[in-house]
């Protein structure tokens, strides 16, 4: 087995792909990258298919020793990076030779970065996906975050397209300071909430609470009011849905959310903006802003064109 060795694991480094779809009817969470846009950029830069498994790191990145040469790329949160002590830039692919150490240093902006490796990460698929879901100990490497001493199997680099080296193919990280605006679609059953609630949700930023992780963000800010109580008979919990329990403090459901939930949903973050939310952590602020279904689709199409342009530019 060709692998990389985890010298230092970072704070919460997991193997993720586009998620474990098709099993929510059996209670299996989707998981997958918290910032699907940056995940996709990283894979594009090394010539992988969009669904190749990559490493997601949060807050503190790892130090890895490669047992074989590979092209790699990092996208998402901005980290200082070095290979055997020599600084390298994010924004393009760069080579790592056999025996080299790739080290993530200081984090400048954002929370989660993605390390894609040409040929992907070759842990076994579980129910069709390599994504790690820590809550159910499924996927990835033994269903958990990486620890020092782990050897993580590398995929076949021949499966990746040839790519350009070290160019600045992605101009700048999309990480915005302050309280980023995240667009939402109001829920169809907004009548579960008091008339002013949708306005109040958008009236000021919410702060992401301490008890926030890959499952979801507990938001602190203006309390929202239900019309007939918070509890409903459990139904689906889409990525980015904003649930409001009886406390009135909303919860933003993220990648590792459970498959169903029993709190009324007031709105859902549009798919084009979920990656913006995925770059936030405890103490950060988020500012919701309602849009129309047409605007949501237009934003997603524009994002897809941007990703396809990055894929095209990265080709050798």
């Amino acid at each position: 087995m060709t692998a990389f060795l985890v010298v230092r694991p970072g704070l919460q480094t997991t193997i993720q792909d586009e998620g474990r779809w098709g099993w929510q009817s059996r209670g299996v969470s989707v998981a997958g990258a918290m910032d699907p846009y940056s995940f996709r950029v990283a894979n594009a830069l090394v010539g992988n298919n969009a669904d190749a498994a990559a490493l997601e790191m949060a807050f503190v990145g790892p130090e890895l020793e490669f047992e074989a040469a590979r092209m790699v790329a990092v996208a998402g949160a901005e980290f200082s990076l070095s290979v055997d002590g020599r600084a390298v830039q994010m924004g393009g692919a760069f080579p790592v030779s056999a025996g080299s150490r790739l080290r993530f240093g200081d984090r400048v902006g954002g929370v989660r970065a993605y390390l894609a490796i040409a040929g992907g990460i070759d842990v076994p698929e579980v129910l069709g996906s390599r994504s790690t879901h820590i809550g159910s100990r499924m996927g990835g490497l033994a269903g958990r975050a990486l620890v020092a001493g782990d050897r993580v199997p590398l995929g076949d680099p021949a499966k990746a397209r040839k790519v350009r080296l070290e160019g600045q193919l992605v101009s700048r990280p999309r990480i915005s300071a302050g309280a980023p605006r995240v667009r939402i679609l109001p829920d169809a059953r907004i009548d579960r909430f008091a008339d002013v609630s949708l306005q109040e949700l958008q009236s000021m930023p919410y702060t992401i609470g301490r008890l926030s992780d890959r499952m979801g963000f507990r938001l602190e800010g203006r309390r929202l009011q239900h019309r007939h109580g918070a509890d409903i008979l459990s139904e689906i919990t889409p990525l980015g849905s904003v649930q409001v329990p009886a406390s009135g403090q909303p919860i933003l459901l993220m990648a590792d959310r459970q498959t169903s939930g029993g709190y009324a949903r007031i709105a859902t973050v549009i798919s084009a903006d979920i990656g913006v939310a995925g770059q936030l952590g405890p103490g950060d602020r988020i500012w919701f802003s309602a849009c129309t279904p047409g605007e949501a689709l237009a934003a997603r199409l524009a994002q897809e064109r941007e990703l396809m342009a990055i894929e095209a530019r990265s080709r050798a």
């Binding site: 059996r26 689906i236 798919s271 689709l297």
Partner: protein
């Protein structure tokens, strides 16, 4: 029968809503299960996941591959053409449970609150043929109903940090089996060697929405041989 309403839930999911009640309704749920099966069978391009719940069906899709208005129209027509037929040969999963003692630490409390003997609580829990209304919470966890009103109590005020795999528990008028060790707030009344989810098995999941389950009591000696 209410008309099915098709509701958006963000830009990547639709919800087929069949009722808006707060109580478990087997006939509404049977309709949800039938509609989910029809949507799966239709093999619609761009549909990623179909999830029947108590009284809705969630349909996840890729907005880049699916026209949401066309999908909504298709879901509406599929929903209105499905009549929940009582499946002629529903398998009843028979689940052996070792009730009480170390395996069911909350059985005594349930008995006290219900003013019943432990044996009577067990008899009430093991009598019905339960319906799998839906799965959720954790892989393979089936929400079963309905529990006899005499032994239906709200969940524990403080959830346990760890509930052992195979624990059989009650919360409100629902009962279920913890497929794996996990945190949990339900009242644990027994344990089974049956594993609703085993990723190493040819069929990883034992239960599906709409299935039937009946519990029966076994002695600790029989249980220890099985687990």
């Amino acid at each position: 029968m209410n008309e099915a309403r098709i509701l958006t839930a963000g830009d990547s999911a639709l919800v087929v809503e069949l009722a808006r009640g707060q109580d478990l309704d087997a006939s509404v749920n049977a309709r949800a299960v039938a509609i989910a099966a029809a949507v799966q069978a239709a093999g619609i391009a761009g549909v990623l996941d179909v999830v029947p719940t108590f009284q809705t069906v969630g349909v996840y899709f890729d907005p880049l591959k699916t026209n949401v208005d066309a999908l909504a129209a298709l879901l509406h027509s599929l929903a209105e053409s499905q009549t929940p037929v009582a499946s002629p040969a529903v398998t009843v999963h028979r689940v052996p449970v070792c009730y009480g003692g170390v395996f069911g630490p909350d059985l005594a409390e349930i008995a006290t609150r219900a003013h019943l003997s432990e044996e009577a609580v067990v008899a009430l829990h093991a009598e019905p043929i339960y319906r799998v209304f839906m799965l959720g919470f954790t892989p393979g966890f089936a929400y079963l109903g309905s529990v006899a009103p005499a032994i239906a109590f709200p969940r524990r005020a403080t959830p346990r940090a760890t509930v052992p795999a195979g624990s059989v528990a009650i919360a409100g008028n629902q009962t279920g089996i913890y497929p794996s060790a996990s945190p949990g707030g339900w009242h644990i009344i027994g344990r089974t060697s049956v594993r609703p989810f085993d990723p190493g098995r040819t069929s990883p999941f034992l239960f599906n929405s709409g299935d039937s389950i009946q519990f029966h009591a076994i002695e600790p000696a029989a249980f220890e041989g099985r687990e």
